[in-house]
């Protein structure tokens, strides 16, 4: 057992730092640190910078053009990228669909779509959830009926993250109505420009627009856009869920958030003292710090094990629960630290040069409310506990 990073790993960290120093545009980092909305071109720009360095497809195997990183490299990269204020790499094309295509796609599909994902020609969004099918995804009702060389798709998807920027959506659709619901689902690639598709924005709790509803009315989708076999969609969805690649514990975000809150608590004044001198606040922060240090190790231990055994286990569920709880606790501490100054909305629109909260914290409350989502999406924390208890108790 040796918890020190190796020489090589340390050198890699240096390399990542230098790269971020040189290449991450300051105006983008400022937005990320302050929690302001990124534009489509901000995100595309960062993807292109990473791609030029060969680090965009961080989860892809070398055969497909990935950098061949293991869990430790990924951890180091994520931690440094978050610390520097790099935007999150959008997972839908790179970390989700790409892996589905590598495992279940035809050679033609791989050759066509993978380069487009890397180059940013396609922006993919994820069309799983429906109004009636959230946790119970298998109850989805959007139908795809095969006729000749095409499917006709009807139904509604919802919660489609950043769909407003996307040109394509990968969907789970119902292709068979009898039998077990899981057995009648297929995985379909849909061009969002197809006639019969309408996208409507959903405004979130803090006022932002990051999710959408997508309506399908007699949308014609070429049969060659089916991935895997017909009715194999559930297997594909489960494959994605259990092969965790997207740093589900969100360590990088939490490390960055922790540093930010600590700095804030050292500047904010309460009762003539710094907030950090208030033992009640300091105790809140110290408690999360210990949890976060533990989670860093839990994360690396579990991911290394999973990689060694080649067998994904239950680690994703544990990491998801702890990771989201810690991140939410840090968002909670940031808004608490501001006291009344957390309230003005939207903070950056305030008149003149009058500062109520430090600019990088002006959206602390908005971020806290927005991040209530992280324990709901991607399989809610309750569903993760169900997965864990089912496997642990075997009752």
């Amino acid at each position: 057992m040796d918890l020190n990073f190796t020489e090589q790993e340390l050198a890699f960290r240096e390399e990542v730092r230098r790269f971020l120093d040189e290449k991450l545009p300051a105006e983008i980092a400022d937005k990320v640190i302050a929690g302001r909305e990124l534009t489509k071109s901000d995100m595309e720009r960062w993807h292109a910078i990473l791609n030029a360095r060969g680090w965009l497809a961080s989860t892809w195997p070398v055969d497909f053009g990935g950098p061949g990183w293991g869990p430790v490299e990924r951890h180091i990269f994520e931690e440094e990228a978050c610390r520097a204020g790099a935007p999150r790499v959008l997972p839908f094309g790179l970390h989700m669909l790409a892996h589905v295509l590598m495992k279940f796609g035809t050679k033609e599909q791989q050759d066509h779509y993978l380069p487009r994902i890397l180059e940013g020609t396609d922006w993919w969004c994820q069309g799983y959830s429906e109004p009636g099918a959230g946790s119970d995804l298998a109850s989805l009702r959007t139908t795809a009926v095969r006729g000749g060389d095409a499917y006709l798709v009807n139904g509604q998807k919802t919660w489609t993250t950043l769909g407003q920027h996307a040109n394509r959506i990968f969907c789970l659709v119902r292709t068979k109505k009898d039998g077990k619901p899981q057995e009648g689902i297929s995985f379909l690639l849909v061009d969002l420009d197809s006639p019969g598709i309408e996208m409507r924005p959903i405004r979130l709790i803090e006022g932002g627009h990051e999710v959408n509803e997508v309506f399908f009315t007699d949308v014609r989708v070429p049969a060659e856009n089916l991935v895997g076999d017909e009715n194999q969609g559930w297997t594909i969805a489960k494959y994605l869920l259990t092969h965790e690649r997207t740093n589900i514990a969100g360590i990088g975000f939490s490390v960055q958030a922790f540093e930010q809150v600590k700095a804030l608590a050292r500047t904010v004044k309460r009762g003539g003292k710094r907030l950090i001198d208030d033992p009640l606040y300091a105790a809140r922060l110290a408690r999360v710090e210990a949890e976060l240090e533990a989670l860093k190790i839990t994360n690396l231990r579990m991911l290394s094990n999973a990689q060694k055994n080649g067998q994904p286990g239950l680690e994703s569920s544990m990491l998801k629960i702890k990771g989201t709880v810690i991140r939410q606790a840090l968002n909670d501490l940031a808004r608490r630290a501001l006291g009344p100054a957390a309230g003005p909305f939207p903070a950056e629109a305030l008149a003149g040069n009058l500062e109520i909260a430090p600019p990088e914290h002006a959206r602390a409350a908005a971020r806290y409310f927005n991040n209530r989502k992280i324990s709901i999406f991607g399989g809610s924390n309750e569903i993760q506990r169900n997965i864990l208890s089912k496997s642990m108790l075997e009752l």
Binding site: S135, S139, G272, L354, I356, Y368, R372
Partner: protein, 356 residues
């Protein structure tokens, strides 16, 4: 002991509930609470017309109440309806004007909207660190300093401002036209302002104002606890209903014991919050007012945040949307803990009390 609400207060609560349900339905609130002046002048006059502001003034002064339970009655309804009207500043101003033996007629009729400016950037909740200075030149006073997040300050006719003289804390009356008032909306709806005072002319209302300020702050805290209770009751009802109706895996999500236990825990926590608020309401004219209010605001601060977070979580994605009422109730419930001292601030007050 008698835990029954008096007929008068019950009537006031019912009238207020009916009025607010019509004046401030969720769809309407979702826009009006977020656009200047961040409340509704018609609803404000309507509230005053119902005698809501008179409920803060004792009968001897021409009002209809003035007791802790009157405050609680009004604010539970404000919270249930999530009303963005600046009733809290009116209550605090009423306490200050009563202490100053000032005229409260304009306040009671709703014609004069008052805001109370106490907190500052480095002294959000604590009177001892107020830095705004008052200076006297012959018999004219001027104030210099900055008051931060003054609720209702964006749309007030008069500002009651706490400032430090050579002697101690005093209370002044300031006309907003003479100050730099920068209004804005809040993330949970409603409006506030930064108030910049730069040798701003002011009228002295109370020379030794510390007791009066603490009285006003404690009444404000009680009001916030009651507001949270009203909002929590409503959120609890919405969540309970959702657990029974939302179907996943072929059955209502409330069939899952994981959610059942959390739902009943919320109920118990809310009842505890209700009890401590009732206790505080009963102590408003007693020597242990401050301690009771600190307990209430400490406990309610913790529970309100818990209720907000759990309500969102148990609703799933739908409560993350602007369109769904739970999102707005949750924001208010969390942000109540940022007003007039958070749960830790009041815990510290209790700790001091234990040590004394």
């Amino acid at each position: 002991m008698d835990f029954e609400t008096s007929d008068d207060r019950r009537m006031l609560a019912d009238t207020l509930a009916r009025f607010l349900a019509e004046a401030c339905p969720p769809e309407k609130r979702a826009t009006l609470a977020y656009a200047a002046p961040f409340h509704d002048h018609e609803a404000w006059s309507g509230l005053a017309g119902l005698g809501v502001l008179m409920a803060f003034i004792p009968e001897a002064e021409g009002g209809l109440g003035g007791r802790g339970f009157d405050v609680m009655t009004v604010f539970e309804q404000i919270g249930r309806a999530l009303s963005p009207e600046p009733v809290l500043p009116a209550l605090m101003a009423a306490r200050l004007l009563l202490a100053a033996r000032g005229d409260v007629d304009g306040l009671m009729s709703g014609e004069v909207r008052l805001a109370v400016a106490i907190g500052e950037p480095d002294a959000p909740w604590d009177l001892s660190d107020i830095a705004t200075r008052a200076e006297r030149n012959a018999d004219r006073w001027t104030l210099t300093g900055r008051k931060s997040v003054v609720y209702g300050g964006n749309d007030a006719d008069r500002l009651l401002v706490a400032a430090r003289t050579g002697e101690g804390l005093s209370l002044f009356d300031v006309s907003p036209e003479n100050a730099g008032v920068i209004g804005y909306g809040m993330i949970d709806g409603g409006g506030a302002a930064e108030v910049i005072l730069d040798a701003t002319p002011a009228t002295l209302l109370i020379e030794n104002a510390e007791d009066a300020l603490n009285d006003a702050l404690d009444h404000g805290r009680l009001a916030l606890c009651a507001e949270a209770l009203g909002a929590m009751d409503h959120v609890q009802a919405l969540t309970l209903d959702y657990l029974k109706t939302r179907q996943q895996f072929g059955r209502p999500i409330g069939k899952n014991q994981a959610l059942q236990h959390r739902m009943v825990d919320l109920m118990t926590e809310i009842e505890q919050a209700r009890s401590i608020t009732i206790l505080a309401a009963s102590r408003m004219a007693e020597g242990d007012r401050a301690r009771s209010v600190a307990m209430a605001k400490h406990l309610v601060g913790r529970v309100a945040t818990l209720v907000a977070e759990e309500a969102i979580q148990m609703h799933g994605g739908i409560a993350m949307t602007w369109e769904h009422p739970v999102s707005h109730y949750a924001k208010r419930l969390v942000m109540i803990d940022h007003q007039l001292g958070d749960t830790d601030f009041h815990l510290s007050r209790l700790m001091e009390d234990l040590r004394a």
